[in-house]
């Protein structure tokens, strides 16, 4: 049975770095003098972290309900993101409109995509309950009739 695919697309670059091979703005705390230039981004990341933990708590990767594949993706990683979104749409067939929305990345950041369908709403804080409910629904939909969780 196919697993439920959950993509959490971060609001900001996941690495929180800048500068390429000759300098980075993160990673070495003493160089930053205790500063966190990405403090605004970290708040967004914390929110996404809460959501991630909530999903993982309800659907642990190694539990008997480990049929949920969760990925956190950096929007910079378009090579992966484009391919993954297209693959999910083809695999799960969320419908023409929803599929186009997903493939064209018509979502604001941060975003949650479950089985190729964008379930986050523009500008709204991600609600762990709503996301977990959507994942539960996706899990339910894929089960053959009579199969109880």
């Amino acid at each position: 049975m196919t697993r439920v695919s959950v993509l959490l697309i971060r609001e900001n670059a996941e690495q929180l770095t800048g500068g390429g091979c000759c300098g980075t703005l993160d990673a070495d705390d003493p160089m930053l003098g205790g500063r966190d230039p990405f403090h605004h981004a970290r708040q967004d990341r914390r929110d996404l972290g809460l959501l991630h933990r909530a999903i993982r708590k309800l659907y642990p990767p190694d539990g008997d309900r480990g049929q949920v594949a969760v990925q956190i993706v950096d929007p910079r990683n378009q090579l992966y993101l484009i391919a993954k979104l297209a693959a999910d749409v083809i695999r799960y067939r969320p419908g023409l409109g929803a599929g186009l929305c997903t493939i064209c990345q018509m979502f604001s950041l941060p975003a949650v995509v479950v089985n190729g369908r964008v379930i986050s709403r523009r500008g709204e804080t991600l609600d762990p309950d709503a996301v977990c409910h959507a994942i539960g629904q996706a899990l339910h939909d894929r089960r053959p009739a009579g199969d109880t969780p």
Partner: protein, 648 residues
Amino acid sequence: MNAATLAVVAFAALLVAYLTYGRFMATRIFRLDPSRRTPSHELEDGVDYVPTRVPVLFGHHFASIAGLGPILGPAIAVVWGWLPAVLWVVLGCIFIGAVHDLGALAVSLRFKGRTIGDVCSDLMGWRARLLALLIIFFLLALAMGAFVNAISGLFVNFNPDAIIPSFGLMLVAVAVGIAVYKLKVGLGPATVVGLVLFALLIVCGVEWPITSYEWFASAEARQALDGARDAAPAEGVPGFEKPYGAAAAVRHLQAVGNERAAEQVTAAIALTQKWWIWGLLAYAFLASVLPVWLLLQPRDYINSFQLYFILATLFVGLVVAAATGAPENHINAAVFRPDVPMTAIGPGQTIDDVGRAPSWLPLLFVTIACGAVSGFHSLVSSGTTVRQLDRETDARVIGYGAMLVEGVLAILVIAACVAGLGAEAWQSGGEYGSWKSIGGAGLAVQLSAVVRGGGNFLALLGIPTRYGTAILAVTVVAFALTTLDTATRLLRFNVEAICRAVDLEPLANRYFASLVAVCAIAFFGLVPAGKTLWTLFGTANQLLAGLTLLTVSVFLYKLGRPVVYTVVPMVLMLAMSIWAMTINLVGFWENESLSKFNQWSLTVVTLVVLAMSLWLIVEGLLSFARGRGGLEREERESPEPVTAGTQP
């Protein structure tokens, strides 16, 4: 040997190394264990510690380690022939650079994702840590001095067509940043609009290049340049065509015999470059005090597209050149040129008349830094990437593999310079005809070589050369500006920390600290010896790599594992760096074109870095002398097996 064959052989060597030496290092030396819990699982918080699949993490890691370094270094180093440059990139990547990155990841993995600096402090003491930070401080100021020098030269001499798109890209980045992060516009539409605007800016730049040197030229020179633009092409006279770079202007005016105007333009070039440097420093100040989400992050986002675009187009361009038998596939450079003439050899002259360039040994090893090994990668590997590794064995793909891909970029740049640039560049009087014309010239010349060589590859894909060179020039400038922004901010944080440490709290504010940071960069950027900065930067970067390899070696030694695979690269890095630094030191002292102040200050900076390096080696030896042990408990800890990762 042609460029395509060269590239195929090099890529094959890198692939074989990944499958053999990379596997050996991962399994036998670092003993990566897929069943051991990684920090991303142990401390999973969905914020910093997130188990991430290999294809996802590889993209993030590669975008964070690749930049201007693997482009600029190889462009200079091919002056000694293509073979030493290719060998150093391939062998350096396989045996040193990739081992360095993998080692930093492996060590950090066992220390719960702590940075290599913290680990260094634990293993070798706080003095070693302090030294590493000081080296990084000098390294940043040096690199940025070199970068502002290079950008200003590129804008004035070779690519006035890059000015509009380079600065326009900042506005586009700000617009994308506000749209995506504040207005919550869809990512897809914002990206597409941003990239379309960027393309339009390239068109504007190519059609309306900004010849800034004309602002500082006399009316007479401007009149001569107007005449040159309208002049019909004549045999034996180099044309003065778009993008109307100052170097082309001087060549044209000299060819038509208008020496007076040529001199006036030359004088204007020096002044214009100085103004551009000040302008770029003002930008660095502004960028350093602006919030990161406004400019740095969105530009970083756009940079990632540029990086993959350049990699893909250079690669496909080379394939097309090979398939069609285009002249761009023919290598025009010498295989090995140990004796590079100092200046162009005139008729009836020999190399003894014009003098010899500095020897390839040891300068090759510090000139190509990031393309073969880069100390900065350890900061990315150990601080951020390690916290997202799903399984320990993934470190081989991410740490070892990503460095090899950076080697691929360096090989493509070498191909662009030795083949794509054309035969003229390698004849006497061409860019690579003598040391003065490339290695000893401004960094802009070296960047221009990559830009033109790469532009010729892009032309094979149907992209007009004018546009191809503009795209490459803007990409190079964008990488350099992102680094400039980042480094100025880092220097600022350091200055603020120092002010606090010495109870000068009122001065520990972003504006004063940014000003001090910009002054440090200005010192290196405006010094007439700017052309030697790159090798000095490479030296400091290799020193940092040597330090990381030292830390990795001490770690392996204390666990009772073989250390030869990290100690030999470490010794090579430290020896070459110190040798190159000594040569630089003598060069600064004997350089009569430098003022006494510049001579003294550059000598002192080099001496300080040299002293720190020697001290660091002593710290490492002391750590070895303290003997094995101390890490066994950590090693013996029975790991909780990972039963499932995030893999579907």
